[in-house]
């Protein structure tokens, strides 16, 4: 019977968080670049931003200062709060713009936004 792994081996490390965040970022990027619907593109962007937040917080939590019993660098937390705020502002403008376009064109399909080309 194989030995039962020690409990330390099951603990979640920085690499786990970075892996998860990287995966979410990749999914968000693929959505943002491949979806034809403007609102769906925005959803992809939100995923990308959340991946960024997760990365920053993980780095903050696993920083050398915090691991040694000190306090985590506060910039990480501030960074995340600002990212959330700015993302909300951006989404507000984006939705207003999408509504404006929809009223004029009856669609938010990016493939049909082809007035300008060449």
């Amino acid at each position: 019977m194989p030995p039962i792994p020690a409990i330390e081996d099951l603990s979640i490390t920085l690499a786990h968080y970075l892996g998860l965040a990287g995966t979410v970022f990749a999914i968000g990027t693929v959505i943002a670049l491949s979806k034809r619907n403007a609102v769906a593109v925005l959803m992809g962007v939100e995923l990308m931003l959340n991946a960024v937040n997760l990365t920053v917080l993980a780095f903050s939590r696993f920083s050398a200062a915090f691991e040694e019993g000190g306090s985590a660098p506060l910039e990480g937390h501030v960074f995340v709060v600002f990212v959330l705020t700015v993302a909300a502002a951006e989404a507000a403008v984006a939705l207003a713009m999408a509504v404006l376009v929809y009223r004029r064109r009856e669609t938010v399909d990016l493939d049909r936004f082809n007035l300008m080309r060449g």
């Binding site: 910039e75 951006e90 403008v93 060449g118």
Partner: protein, 487 residues
């Protein structure tokens, strides 16, 4: 440091923000009777004057707890941005009076410019990000401000590209923060200076993300695709602001991040990002120039031209890493020369769009007979964009390319050779436009005149293009001082 020292440090940005507030309040209280145009001009003049005052009186470098840094570099860029916003405001009087949301137009313009000034001063990743997004969000609305089909489509496209670029930039920032453990650029610089070779790959990952994200502001490949559509769809004066001020702010951020934080020339990492910028510069030049060849719409042509020019400027960034100190001052000189040149070109395009109702280059036929001043200024600007003496554009190109050659690295020599080849391609479409204006016969020879503000901006632009072309030494001196503050 007293409260007034802090205010003095961020004064040029504050003046623009206050102007935006004043414009909106005046519009709210007095409606149509308010002279919002006058308020916007005053804000621009105060901001520019305050920048000069900082230069003359002097200013303490760090302010707001190390979030911003005011030095010769930020003052140089604040002067460019202040000048551009003032030029756009002066030229916009007639056009903006036809807008339903004239007050919002001026307010957003001023907020965006104020944030750009702050962007040039930012000394911390968080300040940098917030200033960058404030600039961008205001610009998204500006692009869509006329609310017609083209304008709103361009606005939405610009916004979606911008949001993706911002997220990519932030991912790069997250890694910089994670590795260095701080968001201050100086702190990151200290960490990079002693970074072990094992950190090379994560650092490269971080700066590639940062370059792609910030490339959106500079219209540098691979984040360039928005430029032609957005320039074509947005009002010509908004496009002026995007092409000049936004590009200057983008390069300012890139220089602060890469020179200050990621080692200016003496760490292994700067060799890496120098080569990355060399590749991006070459791609931008070829994409921009081949794209512009077949364009018939003036603004779309200038959009592709803007991509190609971003490539030219990025040659200066590539030159840095090879240990050449002329690189950063070359970039700054190019930005100054590009500002006077492109403002002139875009304001003429705006004037023609206003008077003739057309942006097609074919309709510029015989412009010299209809409005000699506009045709001459536009010709001068196009000659300057090509890089033919005696114009500012010529000196700028020689300066930047010379910086790259001085280093003697073989890959930089190849890049310069490629850039010179591209200049030859660009001569074709710029000079064809000049020929259309001067040699072709107009279909309708009715002369037209520009308004006073537009005439003034065109005169300043033409004088600037010639002055910096004939005697570039004052601007070179200013650019070198600014670059010295950066390194």
């Amino acid at each position: 440091m007293t409260f007034f020292d802090q205010v003095h440090a961020v004064g040029p940005a504050l003046a623009l923000y206050a102007g935006a507030g004043a414009v909106l309040s005046a519009d709210l209280l007095q409606g149509r009777r308010a002279s919002i145009w006058g308020l916007a001009v005053v804000a621009g003049v105060v901001s520019l004057g305050w920048t000069l005052a900082q230069l003359i009186v002097g200013v303490e470098a760090g302010a707001l707890g190390g979030a911003v840094r005011v030095d010769a570099f930020s003052i140089y860029l604040a002067a460019i941005i202040g000048g551009v916003v003032l030029a756009v405001t002066l030229a916009a009087r007639e056009w903006a009076s036809t807008l339903e949301q004239a007050a919002e137009f001026y307010a957003l313009l001023l907020v965006s410019a104020g944030s750009m000034v702050l962007l040039a001063q930012a000394e911390d990743l968080i300040t940098l990000f917030v200033a960058l997004e404030t600039t961008s969000i205001a610009q998204f609305i500006l692009v869509g401000i006329t609310r017609n089909d083209r304008s709103s489509e361009a606005g939405l496209k610009y916004l979606l590209t911008g949001a993706v670029a911002a997220a990519i930039l932030l991912y790069g920032f997250a890694f910089l923060f994670g590795m260095a453990g701080t968001t201050s650029l100086e702190g990151i610089a200290v960490w990079v200076a002693s970074a072990p070779e094992a950190q090379r790959l994560p650092l490269m990952l971080a700066f590639v993300f940062v370059a792609v994200g910030i490339g959106f502001k500079m219209a540098l490949v691979p984040s360039h695709a928005w430029a032609p559509d957005v320039y074509e769809g947005s009002p010509a004066l908004v496009a002026t602001f995007l092409s000049v001020a936004s590009k200057a702010a983008g390069f300012a951020v890139a220089m602060r991040l890469f020179y200050t934080a990621l080692g200016g020339g003496d760490t292994f990492i700067s060799q890496d990002w120098g080569k990355m910028f060399a590749v991006l510069a070459a791609l931008s030049m070829i994409v921009g120039n081949t794209g512009a060849l077949l364009q018939t719409n003036a603004k779309r042509l200038l959009g592709y031209s803007s991509i190609a020019q971003a490539g030219n400027i990025a040659v200066g960034l590539a030159a840095v890493a090879a240990g050449s100190t002329a690189g950063p001052s070359g970039v700054l000189f190019f930005l100054g020369a590009y500002a006077v040149t492109n403002v002139g070109a875009f304001v003429v395009v705006s004037l023609v769009a206003d008077r003739l109702g057309s942006e097609q280059i074919a309709d510029y036929a015989g412009l010299v007979k209809r409005s000699p001043a506009a045709a001459i200024v536009l010709s001068l600007c196009l000659v300057s964009l090509t890089g033919i003496p005696p114009t500012a554009g010529f000196v700028a190109k020689v300066y930047v390319f010379n910086a790259a050659v001085q280093s003697g690295e073989r890959w930089l020599l190849a890049l310069v050779a490629f850039a010179v080849l591209n200049t030859a391609i660009s001569a074709f479409y710029y000079l064809r436009w000049v020929r259309t204006m001067i040699l072709d016969e107009p279909r309708d020879a009715t002369p037209f005149r520009a308004s006073g503000g537009v005439q003034f901006v065109l005169a300043v632009s033409a004088v600037g293009v010639l002055l910096f072309g004939l005697d570039p030494s004052p601007l070179i001196q200013a650019a070198q001082d600014a670059a010295a503050a950066l390194l």
